[in-house]
Symmetry: D2
Amino acid sequence: MKHIKLAYIGGGSKAWARVFMNDLALAEGLSGEIALYDIDLAAAERNRRIGERINAAEEAVSKWDYVVYESLESALIGADFVAISILPGTFDEMESDVHAPEKYGIYQSVGDTVGPGGVLRAMRTVPIYEEFARAIRKCCPEAWVINLTNPMTACCKTLFDVFPAIKAFGCCHEVFHAEEFLACVAAEELGVPKPDRRAITVDASGINHFTWITEANFEGHDLLKLLPKSIEKWYNEGHYEYGDPLDFRSDPFRYGNKVKMDLFRRYGVLAAAGDRHLAEFMKKSRYLRDKNAPEEWLFHLTSVDYRRADRSRKIEESELIASGAKPVKPEKSSEELIELMKAILGFGKIVSNANTVNRGQVEGLPIGSVVEVNHVFDKDSVKPIVTNPLPGPVLQMVAENAMNIENTYYGIKERDLEKIFAAFMAQPLCCELSWSEGEELFRTMIRNTKQYLSPYYDLRGIL
Amino acid sequence: MKHIKLAYIGGGSKAWARVFMNDLALAEGLSGEIALYDIDLAAAERNRRIGERINAAEEAVSKWDYVVYESLESALIGADFVAISILPGTFDEMESDVHAPEKYGIYQSVGDTVGPGGVLRAMRTVPIYEEFARAIRKCCPEAWVINLTNPMTACCKTLFDVFPAIKAFGCCHEVFHAEEFLACVAAEELGVPKPDRRAITVDASGINHFTWITEANFEGHDLLKLLPKSIEKWYNEGHYEYGDPLDFRSDPFRYGNKVKMDLFRRYGVLAAAGDRHLAEFMKKSRYLRDKNAPEEWLFHLTSVDYRRADRSRKIEESELIASGAKPVKPEKSSEELIELMKAILGFGKIVSNANTVNRGQVEGLPIGSVVEVNHVFDKDSVKPIVTNPLPGPVLQMVAENAMNIENTYYGIKERDLEKIFAAFMAQPLCCELSWSEGEELFRTMIRNTKQYLSPYYDLRGIL
Amino acid sequence: MKHIKLAYIGGGSKAWARVFMNDLALAEGLSGEIALYDIDLAAAERNRRIGERINAAEEAVSKWDYVVYESLESALIGADFVAISILPGTFDEMESDVHAPEKYGIYQSVGDTVGPGGVLRAMRTVPIYEEFARAIRKCCPEAWVINLTNPMTACCKTLFDVFPAIKAFGCCHEVFHAEEFLACVAAEELGVPKPDRRAITVDASGINHFTWITEANFEGHDLLKLLPKSIEKWYNEGHYEYGDPLDFRSDPFRYGNKVKMDLFRRYGVLAAAGDRHLAEFMKKSRYLRDKNAPEEWLFHLTSVDYRRADRSRKIEESELIASGAKPVKPEKSSEELIELMKAILGFGKIVSNANTVNRGQVEGLPIGSVVEVNHVFDKDSVKPIVTNPLPGPVLQMVAENAMNIENTYYGIKERDLEKIFAAFMAQPLCCELSWSEGEELFRTMIRNTKQYLSPYYDLRGIL
Amino acid sequence: MKHIKLAYIGGGSKAWARVFMNDLALAEGLSGEIALYDIDLAAAERNRRIGERINAAEEAVSKWDYVVYESLESALIGADFVAISILPGTFDEMESDVHAPEKYGIYQSVGDTVGPGGVLRAMRTVPIYEEFARAIRKCCPEAWVINLTNPMTACCKTLFDVFPAIKAFGCCHEVFHAEEFLACVAAEELGVPKPDRRAITVDASGINHFTWITEANFEGHDLLKLLPKSIEKWYNEGHYEYGDPLDFRSDPFRYGNKVKMDLFRRYGVLAAAGDRHLAEFMKKSRYLRDKNAPEEWLFHLTSVDYRRADRSRKIEESELIASGAKPVKPEKSSEELIELMKAILGFGKIVSNANTVNRGQVEGLPIGSVVEVNHVFDKDSVKPIVTNPLPGPVLQMVAENAMNIENTYYGIKERDLEKIFAAFMAQPLCCELSWSEGEELFRTMIRNTKQYLSPYYDLRGIL
């Protein structure tokens, strides 16, 4: 039985916290303290109560001490792990990120990674992460730090740049969805029951939400060779690894994988993220030409109103659980975080994708930029595996976005709005903006979110 | 007196040939044979007659033997230098390159370097250059090969890729224009007579037609620090280093440098090519949004009809010269080719820009891609100088185009239309095309120029 | 049950063949054909008979078809795996490799990897491997090729250089011994029973026989932090992971690990190969100053006479087994080859060290040279893991040897004796030779082994 | 006329100061202040008086204000150039550097660059250069800094590492001697008068005192192709570019170039430093086996006693000049420093060798290490030229030494005696030391020079 302290930073208002606490309850061999810290103290407190409900559940194998801390540093001191999952700003800021660009014909399906929304979100998030990095260096320099916040690449870059010796990685489940999709291909083409995604071995390379699978094996079958057959069947109507390909009409987090299939036809490798994400890394004419284009490509835009309603539902549910009105019944989720932590604690090797600094694992991307590839997770060790080269045109698109994120990051680091604007205009989704439209939009988005920017930037020329 | 053989491949229909022959006539210390080879034999013959007229001119210091060859190999054998300046296809193909995309809202100011026209032109040119490279390897492997043809980067790449030991470089005068522009800045801000551009020292780095000056010195003055003042004065009305900034209205090869000034304001470094070229490397919304956008940025599109008329005039003039009806009077041009050749022959060192394979001279661009930087030209030696790092957002744009050209080249090398199409769609000027529009345009442009493509590509799926 | 064909090239006279056949017999889930090819046909035939004896053993879980082939190509056709384990030349050549340099004060403890013996052995081996690579490209380009022959680095380099798309890796158990040594440390310092070496996680980086462990974990204990304590106890008397540290006096394949402990004290990282190997990568004054130095460092030189006697015993034993006079009783060896093959066949991931081309996994060693690091072995996939940086002085020594091997290889590839001689003199073990002594020794060693060199090299200046 | 301030740090006791002041007096177009600073104030004062004598000479074209400063910072404030030429410690310390190792059979011909003497000298020098770099950053961050002190590579590394934005380069005339040698080859083989070395164009690449010429041109003649003929004639008796090859017997700064010729025969490229320097970068058995080996290779060891006597003579002469007893008659020296400064001031481009940080100019050496190649010197600009690749075995030797110097530097930076000792033992000249001999020698050399080390290092374990 390993006894650990995990500092959980943020996560107050996220359903993800519940999922994670359920997984913790089922984590055999682990116990200890979950140190909850959130700028919304009440949310942290609610999570604590949920944690205790889960502890009390019959299925709970591991019991955890859920403790709420009122300062970041006190939560971090003595931590073995730090998981960070914050919402930078509120949904009001996200509303601006996602919807303000629509006036200029820019429709973002997610708006938290790249594109104009991704840049503004990075502007809010990076300064907070600078503080996190400094606090970790001071309070728990040996802790393993797991980033769960978007924009993933910029958040991880901040941690590594401010505190180079940090033991950190970024964790995202998007690649898993692509593996599930490949599991469907295996089932379809081999006539077997849909296998567990872990039975499929992939080489994935790129940056978060724009990672590409260049190799996929299932029991000796080269799935990328089988894929064209499935695509022929599925292309028009779509295919969804967890349900009906048309589910996206009611749930905009879903999609029909038509973008992914189209990209495979064009480039011969499989993009390993949800279609909503993929579309945002590409020029807008491709999959986000206008408000209606997504429907044609079998996905929908995720409006912030939808997110608001979704979160209200989830908070409501959380309240019911916290108060005991709704019973909890821990079930293992499809998340892998506990497994990664256990591997780091010495329970056995795992290979899984993660985001770390490029030291040579992705040929052709800048050394020092944050990339996403398979890593070996082992006792106190997370090491990247060298990946297959990406096809030229794919490498070009990934490099373009990787360089844009680097430029965004350094502009933010230097609090230099002109540099940030240059990176803003370089976004593939901004490719149809004239300079003056771009300036107008950038200023508007800054004004909309000024409450979260003015502590860090000199906005006098803009407000 | 050095006696050399220079094989002049192509150039039959170019006024540039005359300029070059005039410079040759004034090249003290050099003499020998100019071996003319052109698939248009009559044009080569006309050049021979012009050469002889020039020889006969009073001002001619050096007399040259102008000899027309009917085969490439015979022209190459024994050559000390090979200058290549061809038109791949005719103006009919160029008409398609430049104007076919207009139906899709893509207005190209030049259409021979990047953008849809640049890709199609590369498709015609690279296979011819493969033959050139093989013939040079066979007939004159020790010769210095000077490329003058566009698309410069792809042509040079072909020479280096097919015959890695080739002694070659690509030569372009666009950087000179930026130096002239800086000479105007020096005059304006320092109150001196406009200095010779050679008195200005620059560090220029990038790829042909998209090179950037990061450092410029004139007699100890940092011209990039003086530039903002000149830009303040010139921005609205433009400034042209050789005349009236509005000349572009009658002569579309001219421009008012507003693009260059705008880019300097945004990125802090000076783009070192004519504005017509620069605009094509950027997303179309920036300077080529629609047919009328160039006027606003103080340049015009160069129609192929204009080129046709221009060439007719020049050929007519050539005929008059060849026949003796028009007298010749050699004057030194602003071209530098003779000086470079003389440096290579040991007449003294020169530093000038050239295009060669990146071996480390430009940090952040792919090793092995063709880049344009200053080189030291010296006795049998052309060596690149390591350049200053480019600012992040500029490097991103240069890298994007450099990778696109690499991808175009490898697609052509493998005669793989899908790969070429991927690179076609990745052009910044194509950023507003949907996949289907792009396919339609690509097919149309291939059909339009099929006569020059079908010897090399399997076009069955397209015609 | 996977049915495979494995071509086993060479190995005729090696006891290792028996070990491997035993392991095959115990490889659950695998069966198929073992295609035996050896230039010594009788030896291959003997192996076939031993294989059949093993098949007949009660313990044999898997039965294999042992087939002797008289040509390399016929053995290779249809192979899924190719294992290569040859003796280049005979023990007479090895006698020269190992003992000829002694006249010049160079005492080699092994003589097959680096040092004068390593260079001469590479001269005999590389041309044979060039043929292997071409035959594999022709007969079984998709097969996984496992090199077991020394000099490991040069053999692997040849395979990758001649046939770049080859699916190959080199396999060596020396790192395992260092892991066993660390297992002893764990037992000593933690007071636990000696753990299985697989329970210890290491990061090892370098080149074959000169790999360095920069990180070692056992159940959360940092073994490199515990190591100094063990070294304090063991340094003087030595420590041997498999027995008495003084065993080396009767069995020169054994050693007391004093070199390894000494190096750890000096550099803070643990060299991961037997001390006999390590000493040869370093300047001779360090551990091989003279004939008696090894005794002081608790190892002995391995004379070729010892090898001859050892092999005679083993062949004798093989004959007894082949004839049935000696019963076989398959037991699982400590070798890992079967496990690696099973991982490649999809039986589950393994992390183990292997030799492949450096694509970024070892920072500071030449890209394209062959390096040894941990790899993930998985279904049809062997991928290097990016390693920790080596300490500066260790990197210098590894780079020195890696560059020497590259230079040796390219000299051999070009059949250029001067280049090979330059690499010969650059060997750390040759550091005390004057040029003329070196020339004399090099010529002598070439003359001694001319029978195996004259087919490949122009020796007229030497014989 | 350019008016400048040059801070001349050190140089008090060097004849070089006189040479430099003579050159200054002849530097047309330049004038200003020479700010003299030396920890030996009297020496600076003597230089001031000499400077004034030179000013008064008839031949003096430029008059300079020679001003003695008593603090480093006051000398630096306002400087346009800083030239640094110090003796770290006294000849007593140098006596230890050069002669202490002789007890262990290590005979150093110079002892100030690499080898045991080079390491100890770096230990004394680097901490002083750290102070210089900080003072320059504070007092004259825009000044051009010219290093003239040995060990050149470590001194330059310190400047660049402590103050990365420094405008600095290291200046050494050794390459010029090799060019003079090549001028002799040109004369010998072409039957022309010995040309000026500036008429010979070379590509030289490597590290200071171990630079290699891969290409040499004189009026179109490939001198490296002519060289074997000259070597055939000169090898046995030697050849000296400035006099009799046997001069070295009376003047140990001279040499017969036999080492250089021998290396050319072995590697095909020409080492571009005096033979005394070259020998020290190689294993001692090659050219420094014992006390008598140099005689055989036509050079002599430079004893510190010789240096003492030499300096006494020069100081005596300086005193005579300073007092007016000996008349001065400025003549242009063969040094190039003034020319480089004039190029930086805008008097015209020069190509010459210099030491700067490797940013890609030497393929295969660590990025960030200090290397020596040709640079273009131009108005406020010193830029490295990308060099030809070095042959494999030469690159190995250069890389070995470059890595050793890097390791020495980082050991000193961290004041870590163990790391420094590791780099000490890795010196090619130390290759025959056992660990214990090495430790003994290292401790002895530290004790001998402790006066200059104890301010910086914790020597308690050693004294």
